[in-house]
């Protein structure tokens, strides 16, 4: 396997055929989801608990305005800065306007009131459980890593799973190799004028390393470096006139897009963005949260534009550990809540729709009298994203103990 890597890259877009195609995987145990999603999965984690009720506000729900005196968004058509209409109940936050065209053209879907079936209001527990893929308990490895492990070992690319951040996120921890990169510009040897010779020096030292993990990973570095350098990846311009914000998320998504353009065999990319824990002065169409959302929406819109021609083979999913309280707190902010929003773009998703069951925001409907209740298990969404060719056995590996048949299918794809 090792020896075939480079040949494998060169041998065409085969590297992109990642999720199984052995006959047993064609047997669709999850019968209702018929079409597979994209072959490259990009996951953005909004750390800090993003307010789903602001991202996709239920502006048609009278209770919403009653509960949110300073943070509610104005219903569509009420002048500049009012929310953008999705349907009779829901709108899009005006700071997410860059995503609106993707909604209109059916590239983007929204899942509302989504979250973990075992809610916790602790950031780190919730992130742990969500990323482990095991609601209510911790696991040594994460759902994305188990996704890699459960697919046939066809693709041995150094870039099979990449996190654009200093550390691997919990979702990518585990036995399958995954690379964490701060940025492509950083992903080079900093040895001044003598880089080529230095690289050779390091490479031969690592290929002779006694320690297996060091030898293996050390050799990977230099193969990966060559892949990146051979195409001057960090300089590759965005396509289709896409303009990324000059923000951490914008830069990370631009790098992910470069890795995809370069056809390096990437199957999974993960990154995160913070600043969502808006306990104080959250703001409405302007303010703290609006600024975060503008960066978020502009970055994703640039990414989707950049990869326009590849979006059928590519699925981008956003998630956050939990939503925020329906009622505003005493500091013009919101506290830790439960249900929130996931966005799904590309991969053949049936976009322009809102998935999930909505119950009016009446106090009696709220979870523990305060939170948007979770009506859709986030794993249901991810299972559909992973695609219909996932056998039940494989889903059980990725999300142990989860039976997707126990809840109604969303039929987000095909």
């Amino acid at each position: 396997m090792k020896f075939s890597r480079r040949a494998f890259f060169k041998s065409s877009g085969l590297a992109l055929v990642s999720f199984g195609f052995a006959p047993q995987f064609l047997e669709r145990a999850v019968a209702e989801t018929t079409k597979r999603a994209g072959k490259i999965l990009v996951v953005i984690f909004q750390r800090g608990a993003a307010d789903g009720l602001s991202m996709v506000p239920p502006t048609g729900d009278a209770q919403y305005h009653a509960m949110r005196s300073t943070t509610a968004l104005r219903p569509p058509g009420r002048g500049a800065g009012s929310a953008l209409r999705l349907d009779d109940t829901f709108s899009l936050h005006p700071a997410l306007e860059a995503l609106y065209p993707f909604w209109s053209t059916g590239t983007m879907a929204v899942v509302h009131a989504v979250g973990s079936p075992k809610p916790t209001r602790s950031h780190f527990d919730a992130q742990d459980f969500l990323e482990a893929g095991t609601p209510g308990r911790r696991a040594e490895d994460g759902w994305l890593n188990r996704t890699l492990l459960s697919s046939p070992q066809l693709n041995a690319s150094e870039f099979r799973a990449v996190a654009l951040q200093p550390n691997l996120p919990r979702s990518l921890l585990g036995a399958a190799p995954a690379v964490a990169i701060n940025s492509l510009a950083d992903f080079r040897l900093r040895a001044g004028r003598s880089s080529a010779a230095t690289e050779r020096g390091f490479e031969s030292m690592y290929s002779a390393a006694v320690d297996g993990a060091l030898r293996h990973n050390g050799q990977e570095i230099f193969r990966a470096l060559r892949e990146v350098q051979s195409v001057k990846l960090e300089e590759m311009p965005a396509q289709n006139g896409a303009r990324y914000p000059n923000s951490p998320l914008g830069k990370r998504l631009a790098d992910i897009a470069r890795l995809i353009h370069a056809d390096l065999g990437m199957e999974i990319a993960a990154t995160d963005c913070g600043g969502w824990d808006t306990h104080v002065n959250q703001g409405n169409e302007q303010g703290q949260l609006a600024a975060r959302l503008r960066d978020f929406g502009d970055s994703i819109a640039a990414f989707t534009t950049d990869l326009r021609d590849k979006m059928a083979d590519l699925c981008l999913v956003t998630m956050t550990e939990f939503g925020r309280t329906v009622k505003e707190n005493g500091n013009r902010g919101t506290d830790h809540g439960t249900g929130s929003v996931m966005l799904v773009l590309g991969g053949g998703v049936r976009g322009g729709r809102i998935y999930g069951r909505w119950t009016e925001l009446k106090p009696a409907n709220l979870f523990e009298g305060r939170d948007l209740p979770v009506t859709t298990d986030y794993r249901t969404v991810l299972c559909e994203v992973l695609g219909g060719q996932f056998s039940l056995e494989r889903i059980d590996k990725v999300f142990p103990g989860f039976d997707p048949r126990a809840s109604p299918s969303l039929r987000m794809f095909g």
């Binding site: 780190f124 040897l189 020096g201 002779a208 993990a213 060091l214 050390g218 570095i221």
Partner: protein
């Protein structure tokens, strides 16, 4: 000394109720008769003295600095270890002097909360309306050294300075180990104002004491109470009196679960969900006066569940107060499962990722025999033949922090703890004091060795050797001048192999390095002159080499 401080600490917390329970505990501070012995006897190893020194400095210290290397050479490994077990007898004036640059280190949490209040708070104190232009400009006018971030900047800088330059190396290694064992994250809410005191008063004070003292100090500390939410945990309400619609207060099991799973007996070691809930009931009322203003321990009697409880095999009668939690800590601290769990973690830290089971058994036995007296446990570990075995030598992979610090030490470098070094360490993947999960950072290599991380290590070594990290300096050129013919590549490489790796290069590595160094691009020297050797590159290659990733 340590004992007196502990007692004062209890008094300072005003937890008067805690004292009687301590006195009635057979392992209490007063009743504890002679301190168990903690003397290391190094078994015969058939190693050279310099191999023994490498091993000891790689395990009990953050690698070898020229000073510590000399110290070990002078008095031998055995005496050096025994000195390290009594850190207060080692003079560390230079580091004490350097730490005076960080005023936050000596402040209480409450003082820090006042002096380094969030900018919005300070604007509010000035009577400026929130989010107003006046408030904004007032906030912008606050100098950076007065912002809350400064606390963590100083704490992190101090940690690096100590790790690099302290002569009490074992103490620093142990503070790092035990902090990680009882991890809190400075990123969770007001913990950033508490973490300085947490490390200083709960961890550092007790790493050479009894495990029970360490455990108790963490259990009482506001940083832990906040981080694992126990401060919010109150007895379950009487369902008949609950007001509909109001947020339901009740038990929070977060601390109780981690106390069992991570701090004491270890996961799946003979406790059930029922034991977790019962433990949580015992700790109801262990709270914080005011997390954002007055971060001190308080026991709230009204929040405490006074009913009878049973935790594993411990029965707690009705009517207890703060003593319920103390009784649970007494019980857990000397539980055989705890002894085993702690012994395993220490063996993994100091011996190998998969330590020999018979070693773990023996260390656990010492833990129990000495009532959890940690110096005796350490001494037994450092006297064990397994610690001095060929299998253990060089078997551990350095954590990102160990790698960075050992690199600076190997070059005989110094650091001010400047933020550039902290950023470099962060880039290696484990930002200090910011491990989010209560498990702390993983203790086996799998988690931190991946291709991206190794490249960051290689780049760190190159940056360090060529003095590209502001505030952190090492004179590799001076070393080369003193120790090798400056124009002979082989001799420079050999000198640095000896200096940085403390071993001879294999002929293959030597040849590899030789080629890498001689092939470097650069101006072609005039005829008859030698091309100058890129000395920092030689040192950088050594620091980034696979050998230097091991300890």
């Amino acid at each position: 000394m340590a004992m007196r401080r502990t007692r004062l600490w209890f008094l300072a917390l005003g937890a008067a109720a805690a004292l009687p329970s301590c006195a009635s505990n057979p392992h209490s501070l007063n009743a504890r008769s002679p301190t168990p012995p903690a003397e290391v006897a190094v078994p015969s190893t058939h190693w050279t003295a310099s191999k023994e020194a490498v091993h000891v400095l790689n395990r009990l210290a953050f690698g070898y600095s020229p000073e510590d290397w000399e110290a070990v050479a002078k008095i031998g490994v055995e005496r050096w270890i025994n000195q390290q077990l009594k850190p207060n007898e080692i003079s560390d004036q230079w580091v004490a002097y350097k730490l005076r640059a960080f005023p936050t280190l000596t402040r209480s949490s409450a003082e820090l909360e006042e002096e380094y209040a969030p900018p919005e708070e300070r604007a509010k104190v000035l009577g400026l309306p929130p989010a107003s232009p006046e408030a904004k400009s007032a906030i912008e006018a606050i100098p950076r050294e007065e912002l809350p971030q400064q606390i963590l900047v100083e704490l992190t800088a101090a940690k690096v300075v100590r790790a690099v330059e302290s002569r009490r190396q074992l103490q620093e290694v142990l503070v790092d180990f035990w902090f990680n064992h009882f991890n809190v994250s400075a990123e969770k809410g007001p913990v950033r104002w508490m973490v300085t005191s947490y490390e200083r008063d709960a961890i550092r004070t007790h790493v050479f004491g009894y495990f029970r003292e360490l455990l108790g100090a963490t259990a009482h500390h506001p940083a832990m109470l906040f981080y694992l939410d126990n401060w919010l945990s109150v007895r379950e309400p009487d369902p008949s009196r609950a007001k509909p619609g109001s947020p339901r207060a009740g038990l929070n099991e977060n601390y109780a679960r981690e106390l069992l799973e991570l701090h004491t007996v270890g996961v799946n070691r003979g406790y059930t969900q029922q034991d977790v809930s019962e433990t949580a009931r015992c700790f109801t009322g262990w709270s914080i006066e005011q997390p954002n203003r007055k971060a001190t321990f308080v026991f709230r009697d009204r929040a405490h569940d006074p009913g009878p409880k049973r935790v594993m095999r411990l029965s707690i009668p009705r009517g207890g107060g703060v003593s319920d939690g103390e009784a649970v800590l007494d019980y857990l601290a000397l539980n055989p499962a705890t002894a085993r769990f702690i012994a395993t973690k220490l063996c993994r830290k100091f011996v190998s990722d998969n330590p020999p089971p018979q070693l773990v058994d023996r260390i656990a036995a010492v833990f129990l025999q000495t009532g959890g007296y940690l110096p005796s446990v350490y001494a037994a570990l450092f006297s064990a033949p397994e610690f001095w075995s060929d299998e253990a030598f060089g078997a551990k992979t350095k954590t990102p922090f160990e790698f960075a610090v050992s690199g600076i030490r190997a070059l005989g470098g110094q650091t001010t703890g400047d933020v550039q070094l902290l950023q470099q360490i962060e880039r290696l993947g484990e930002p200090l004091y910011r491990a989010q999960a209560p498990t702390g950072y993983p203790d086996a290599a799998q988690a931190w060795i991946n291709a991206g991380a190794l490249l960051n290590r290689i780049n760190f070594g190159l940056a360090l050797a060529s003095n590209r990290i502001h505030g952190t300096t090492a004179d590799v050129r001076g070393y080369a001048r003193r120790h090798a013919a400056w124009n002979d590549v082989h001799r420079v490489a050999d000198a640095f192999a000896n200096f940085i790796l403390h071993r001879e290069l294999t002929p293959q590595t030597r040849e590899t390095l030789y080629r890498a160094i001689s092939e470097q691009e650069g101006e072609t020297p005039a005829d008859g002159e030698h091309k100058p050797i890129d000395v920092p590159l030689v040192a950088g290659l050594m620091l980034g080499s696979p050998d230097f990733q091991k300890r």
